[in-house]
């Protein structure tokens, strides 16, 4: 029976992305050896996220309040809104430290083949923000793949009547790589997006 509970924990942990059976086993035995309080606080943090996390009413970021901390922050530039597919994208862009505007999460990308049509995304909510807020530039940072690109084009189309600046993040080569290993499409797009230095 003792084997049963630890086996169960291993099974649960290995559901997490990037955690294989071996890692799950190591984590499980580590948790077993932890002080009770620490283990409880991990469990509580998981429960709290599940119970309290919700979407920001304004930008659809994940938050535990009605409006997320980014939207509430007065020192941020509310004239620029960066459009992303998922809340997790915000964390990555924030880490880059180069953007000080607000965000808008679409909660997905257009994919008619999978039944993801514009009404399934938070596009109307974006239009509403453009209408009512003092937004001057929309920066579309959807993924650099076909779904992301189609989503970007769609947004550009629906925002045309509002006469605001719509930009798309640049396509480029990943830093630290060798040009030799880039495929022709990536390289072609990087050439198209070249800039004077």
């Amino acid at each position: 029976m003792e084997q049963g509970i630890i086996e169960n924990l291993i099974k649960e942990l290995s559901k997490l992305p990037g955690i294989g059976r071996k890692t799950a086993q190591r984590l499980a035995f580590f948790i077993l050896s932890m002080p009770s309080e620490e283990a409880k606080s991990i469990a509580n943090a998981i429960l709290e996220v599940k119970e309290k996390a919700r979407f920001c009413k304004n930008c659809f970021n994940i938050t535990d309040e009605e409006i997320c901390s980014i939207c509430r922050n007065n020192s941020r530039d509310s004239s620029k809104v960066c459009v992303v597919e998922e809340p997790s994208n915000i964390i990555v862009i924030e880490r880059s430290g180069v953007f000080n505007g607000l965000y808008h999460v679409l909660l997905g990308a257009l994919s008619p083949i999978d039944g993801i049509t514009p009404d399934r995304l938070k596009i109307n909510e974006l239009i509403e923000r453009v209408r009512s807020d003092s937004v001057q530039e929309i920066i579309i940072a959807t993924n650099p793949n076909t779904k992301g690109e189609m989503t970007a084009q769609y947004i550009r189309e629906v925002l045309k009547p509002y006469n605001i600046k719509v930009t798309r993040i640049a396509y480029g080569l990943p830093i630290g790589g060798d040009i030799e290993f880039a495929d022709e499409v990536t390289l072609g797009k990087a050439l198209e997006g070249r800039r004077e230095i």
Partner: protein, 261 residues
Amino acid sequence: MLTRTEGIVLKTLPYGEADLIVSYLTPDYGLLKTFAKSPRKIKSRFGSSLEPLTYSRISFWGKEHASLPRLTQSDILHSFYLLRERMDYFFKIIEIIELTLNFIQEMDANKKIFLLFLDTLRLIEEDYIYIKKSFNKEDAFNISRIGLLVNNYKVKFLKFSGFAPKIDSCGRCGNTGNNFYISQGSVLCESCVKESSVLVSGGLSMIRLSLPVIKFYNALMTWDTRKIIRIKPSMNLLEELSNVLNLHIKYIISKPLKTRT
């Protein structure tokens, strides 16, 4: 076992953290679903080669009849990136991707359909390049041959996969007629409709076909694609045929796979 073949990406589905399930149309294995490890990571060696419509030489590793084989390599033969450049073009092409995904099965090799698909992409691309060079960019879609090529694909695809509707004459007696009955997948003449009870079971949904659309359909059925692109059907004609084909396709898809005859 490591296997090599060629394939065109029809669709990808995100899986787990950074993986993809990639569905290929191949000449040797029909629809081929493969598992690709980590292509969504920015520095993935798969690069852009798993984007829809990319035509590649691929290798995959898997045991026979095991679940998803693992994609180990994909070298782009032709990227068709231009066809993913514009939303209106790409959404039109999705019609032929969807049709193909709905009918082609795994391990169901059909070289003719593969070549038709590849040829259709090539011609749409040629047309797109020509129009982009010669005309105002914004108008490209309206004056392009994409509507014709998509219809051509649908008709020939249905023919090659054994689901072509019978439009040139009555499906029961061969007499002339121009009323197309969706549940029969066929035109029926008036006397056959009168004496037949088949319609009661399948419903009476019927479309009246114009003479030009019947002629147009026959041309698509019999002429080579390279000859087809020389004709210039009107928008109305394209729409009329599209409508019949889409209703026919929808009806077949609504039936369970095994009863689709």
